[in-house]
Symmetry: D3
Subunit: 312 residues, 6 copies
Amino acid sequence: MMNRLRPKDASVSPRFAGIPTFMRLPIVTDPYKLDVALMGVPFDGGTTYRDGARFGPREIRVQSALIRNYNPVLKISPFEKLRIADYGDIDVNPLSIENTFQKIQQEIETIVEADALPFSIGGDHSISLPILRALTKKHGYRQLGMIHFDSHIDTWDEYFGMKLSHGTPFRRAIEEKLLNPNKIIQIGIRGQLYNATDFDFNKKHGVTMITIEDVFEHGVSFVDDKIRNLQGDKLYLSFDIDALDPAFAPGTGTPQVGGLTSFQALQLIRALQGLEFVGFDLVEVSPPYDSKGITSLLAANLIFEFLCIIAH
Amino acid sequence: MMNRLRPKDASVSPRFAGIPTFMRLPIVTDPYKLDVALMGVPFDGGTTYRDGARFGPREIRVQSALIRNYNPVLKISPFEKLRIADYGDIDVNPLSIENTFQKIQQEIETIVEADALPFSIGGDHSISLPILRALTKKHGYRQLGMIHFDSHIDTWDEYFGMKLSHGTPFRRAIEEKLLNPNKIIQIGIRGQLYNATDFDFNKKHGVTMITIEDVFEHGVSFVDDKIRNLQGDKLYLSFDIDALDPAFAPGTGTPQVGGLTSFQALQLIRALQGLEFVGFDLVEVSPPYDSKGITSLLAANLIFEFLCIIAH
Amino acid sequence: MMNRLRPKDASVSPRFAGIPTFMRLPIVTDPYKLDVALMGVPFDGGTTYRDGARFGPREIRVQSALIRNYNPVLKISPFEKLRIADYGDIDVNPLSIENTFQKIQQEIETIVEADALPFSIGGDHSISLPILRALTKKHGYRQLGMIHFDSHIDTWDEYFGMKLSHGTPFRRAIEEKLLNPNKIIQIGIRGQLYNATDFDFNKKHGVTMITIEDVFEHGVSFVDDKIRNLQGDKLYLSFDIDALDPAFAPGTGTPQVGGLTSFQALQLIRALQGLEFVGFDLVEVSPPYDSKGITSLLAANLIFEFLCIIAH
Amino acid sequence: MMNRLRPKDASVSPRFAGIPTFMRLPIVTDPYKLDVALMGVPFDGGTTYRDGARFGPREIRVQSALIRNYNPVLKISPFEKLRIADYGDIDVNPLSIENTFQKIQQEIETIVEADALPFSIGGDHSISLPILRALTKKHGYRQLGMIHFDSHIDTWDEYFGMKLSHGTPFRRAIEEKLLNPNKIIQIGIRGQLYNATDFDFNKKHGVTMITIEDVFEHGVSFVDDKIRNLQGDKLYLSFDIDALDPAFAPGTGTPQVGGLTSFQALQLIRALQGLEFVGFDLVEVSPPYDSKGITSLLAANLIFEFLCIIAH
Amino acid sequence: MMNRLRPKDASVSPRFAGIPTFMRLPIVTDPYKLDVALMGVPFDGGTTYRDGARFGPREIRVQSALIRNYNPVLKISPFEKLRIADYGDIDVNPLSIENTFQKIQQEIETIVEADALPFSIGGDHSISLPILRALTKKHGYRQLGMIHFDSHIDTWDEYFGMKLSHGTPFRRAIEEKLLNPNKIIQIGIRGQLYNATDFDFNKKHGVTMITIEDVFEHGVSFVDDKIRNLQGDKLYLSFDIDALDPAFAPGTGTPQVGGLTSFQALQLIRALQGLEFVGFDLVEVSPPYDSKGITSLLAANLIFEFLCIIAH
Amino acid sequence: MMNRLRPKDASVSPRFAGIPTFMRLPIVTDPYKLDVALMGVPFDGGTTYRDGARFGPREIRVQSALIRNYNPVLKISPFEKLRIADYGDIDVNPLSIENTFQKIQQEIETIVEADALPFSIGGDHSISLPILRALTKKHGYRQLGMIHFDSHIDTWDEYFGMKLSHGTPFRRAIEEKLLNPNKIIQIGIRGQLYNATDFDFNKKHGVTMITIEDVFEHGVSFVDDKIRNLQGDKLYLSFDIDALDPAFAPGTGTPQVGGLTSFQALQLIRALQGLEFVGFDLVEVSPPYDSKGITSLLAANLIFEFLCIIAH
């Protein structure tokens, strides 16, 4: 069985050939046959500035054709250890955020019911909320911890009078007791705020923020120390591509200058080895704003690194 | 007063200079000082495929810097005859189509209350519905006629179970008695349908469809004959930029090949002289998919032609 | 069975969602379950100027998401009449034209053996030769006729001392008795030649060339008259996207100005109703040179029209 | 000698190889060895909106790699009849329009002194003035006639208080008695004017304007009739690429919608056979605004057609 | 009063809506109502290679829509402390550098007369000269110091025999006694020179050059030490966007590889706290060469950081 | 003589003017008049994913217009010390890798026979093999050492059953005894492998691999130490542009995230001073995938640095 879930052999079937699936993996829609379900969640109805993330899954599929099997740094091939496939996309409803959230939650519940790990590829950051709802339910309604890469805190209260958007998912998740704020670490935070009080919610609830200044000035080991506090917890991993600098990831909806380099991102992900994750998302890749696909290519590489972490 | 509402003089202030307003006109937010309010309606939450039309008003403003004053074909300068200005944008709610429709309707009511003519620059095609609601209310709830340029009929019933979207505004408008279907002419219709029955609603209600084949094979005079039937009626004008071929207007959400040329579009608009319009929209310009701004530039030119029709 | 081979319903599964297959059709790799096999042939090793056509199938898949079911001009839905699916790509060998030709011929033989009609989406124009070899073998080595849309004649003898390239397939095919030159009609021919004698081969063998001047000056009916001479013959259809003007189809390797409009292309294809085709190709879409996908979108629409011709 | 002035043989030296010269011709800087000097004039200091035409010669060289030798419509190979080469660029002064004009005039004088025909590739339209000064001097200060393709009349008086710009060259040329206004035909005129009086200068001086409406409605034969009036006159040919529609030629500084198609442009140029031209320019190609080089490719093709007219 | 000079509230008016002003600030053209006048100076007639910087102000306005109010690193909101607005553009003369310089000097004099601080957004680097003329006049003709971020020294003598260009402003300023060379620090200098002697002028006059090697090898603290020498002086700040590496700022006229990262630029600007600036410019953003607006977005962020420095 | 081989003076002839040669150098096709022959090798028939590198030489010529004469870091002007010119391109055969390799080998032999140093600008990485064949022959069939910048090892055995491709040149070169594997240092290696065994060949033969982790974590001095082991050997230098991160060099066929910055690349090249190189290539620049020419510009700068190393 597992033998069949391998990327197409690029020395036989050229990388430019074939129907584009994530990493040229087979399509498997039965979650019981999977350890990890790579799945698109093409919803961008939660964006407040530039949209287009609905095309994230499609373009990441295309650019992921370059991914090979073996990680020589972590010395692992995730496809050897785990049954990983392209699970397809969730059929979101671009006209209704509420209906979309129902569909996402339902699909994630189906996946986790089968004991597969859901890896959701967005779409905008609003999708994390229904995913967390499903995951928490699966895990006995116990609050999860979270590693969250982002330039933004995403714990704002509302936009345009609405509670659901790509700037609010983790406030909702904390309010709904899906996440334990003391077990949340946000990495890469930077950029202007609306007000001096924007961090108050995070501070009040004990969310750990590692700013970009922390990363550049204190290095990966500083982050590593913080991360170790989550050892033993069940964790969610949410990666907003705008954690990277726009030079490395221009294709996103609310880019913020002064961000991570691609090498730093790889280092930080590799530092997550040994933690226990119950779900992943990589969000906010907006292909219409990308430059020659470099953002989607980077996203595909980051997803591969996460798969290596899972396989470890 | 009127003297002040003129585009900046491009032989004194270069076209590339200054804050970009529609056609380099002054900003006027008091509708009582206006005959025509050029206004952005940057909502794209009704799109079913590619979004991005929320940036239509911004980019059409930018590209409209090339528009000059006088139309040598129609022999008119609209800015001499009418008080026209940049009225700004309606602050839509990207997270709620219902709330957005309320805001649009309210603002259009304000404008028509002041006896100014609203010229709405989208945004996606869903915005026509709240505009029509406001206009009809103003005109004593009498059904309006409509000239509708588009590749699509936009009288489908629903998408994803939802009644409001960019593919359904005119079905809703007919159902709500905002439009008189016998007084609707759709021009440029083409492309595949979902089903053979897609035209049934139109046919049943007596909507006139002029296909692209009609235009290319029978010419402008054929269209002109049809249009003459609307003489004397109060009309709405709705122009979806995808009426044009993607070679001329690539920057749109659901492009359809085999469409109008820019010259045909100009001819068809000029053929509208003598009709009585109570409102206009130009929709579905999606700048992220544009090529070097040619779609927005074309849109700006079409808007200018419409202003000449109004001024006539 | 047939019910399952339908494009995904876009009012349930959004067009931007899911793994991109041709026209959102199912993937079927058993030719016995198909009437028409839509298949990518991503080879561009025969190009003499700009390459990149190896990405043609991938990008046409992506852009074909906009295709709907029913053709209101021809009044037909090909998916109702025929079992059509995405057959995947042929695994060409980018390092060897000879090996690639073997693979193509072999795969086409497999398809025609199952009585399915092969519709090959290139890739460069060199691929037509091995396809014709396979088709002729299937049809008892009887020479086929051909309708060939192109700006170039593609009957040159050699480039760089080589006999196989995208400029020579039909000379080889005539020499190998795969095509009956008296039954070949080339449409859209234009552009400079290398020498005044370039047409000599065509003239000597009785190939009919309809130049772009013929099309623009004498119209579709002129072409129609010529085409009628092929009634009753078994025909191959080869469509080089550079038959279109670069304004409509910039994404191609050897673009030639002064070409067909998209509307003319649709008209000319629709004029083919009633002819009998045993195979199709659409070639020379080179996505790296495309502008916002308009060439691939056009290609997808032309493929749909051809499917309607087949279904008729 | 003449044998050496041929484009590189593309069946030996691939089109993508080698230092890019106009049409892959040899570089010849001695005008006495030439019949036609293809020369870049990369000045854009006369533009009033978008600049970038300084890169016109460079990019037209690049795209002209696709041009072949023989024109099958006019049945001529200009390279067989005439000694044509890449003469290089005039070293303009981007910081001074006056100094640039001196340099241009001087270089053109050198060329015409050698009895070579100068074909200037801009650059913006301001360059026509110093060229005309040089040509008129050569031709005994006799006023020249002119065929002028453009969307704009370019006989405005001044911009920003300056007499020299890309909008004024032909007013200056008429005032300086370089051009005989009764022998000027402008083709493709369209778009808004600054004022209703903008055409007054043209009308007063007897300049013939053929609007785009004339071309579309009355066809090439209408233009042809007008052109015949210039038979026997010494003429200058000035071609502003914005005569074409932006769909065909987006890469230009002041694009105007509703313009010529590429096929119309070819037809109109071919209609010039039999007239006597003493100089040519093709101007206003602005590569930063081009889309995938289609404007420069078109320009290269138009230049080839002009060379055929000269060779005739 | 000050309350009104705030960026539009993005939780009420979406960032994509409205007429694009700098940072969505109000338009104020009376300098007496301002502490800082953000103003476009769209002149690129001083460029020697790629032009297009005339569109810098327009595009920076567009991209600045993402800027929020509060700087969490410097712990300040400039809009709370200072009256800052979009002052519009100076109507430069693209056809005359001399006339443009007069207009710039005059407008800056008007602003400084009102005790507002001029923040000029170019445009090319030549504009610094007339700004310095106006500033020096205001400050009693006392020479100013300067912090100058750039990859180039911009103290060359002349180009094409001309004294005014984007490569010469600071040589002129030193010659005219506008700047005190001993109080000039240039940061980010790198790239090839014309000759080994290019630095001689700087060395002779005591200009401090901090090369990119200094920055990368010795860090921000090294720069900080140098900067402290300017404590107490009246300073001008000139920021050429090409100080950044082309990966971060591709949209500029004379890009130089091996430059600053965006994070370094932010750090270096933040190190300027405590110095006294009397004027600012940010120049050489050339949107036609930008990639998806990242250069203009970066420029907007740098401008925001400078505003924080001013507000401190 | 040497005086004539200087880049055109950019203060007289603007950088945007003239026929684009490498660094605006003269064209010299007689190798006996040269110390270094800058030459294009526009072959991309060895690529396994994205092609387009055939346009590398053309675009690097275009972007190299910005290169100036003097390197202020290395304090040298290569054009003063060496006779360097644009030697033109090798006329490769895009339809045959074998024929291309013959042509390359032959031309390189001609150059080295004249004691000129060949600097080959690709094209894809397969071209290194015939170059090495020619160089080794010249140097008495003695094996060369090599410094190899790349993200990939390029010592794979075969693709699609073929021995010649851009992933195999150095395995072939080691097998053919052209290179001494103990004298090979690869810098920048990173990214996934096909299998855990991919490095086995390198390890078995004693190739030194410096991974990107080595560079980022241990710095240039670490690399420098390794390089010193090659002091005194005759070396080849092969630079694959994908050694750089896609943010700095997007325009390449198989980009790999997490790569060198431009500043690191400059530092690493400058560390090569004192080594003895007998040939150079810079490969895998693929302009269709570049963003605004930044990859080609970077390549031109790297070539300049290498020229400085040679001149030292």
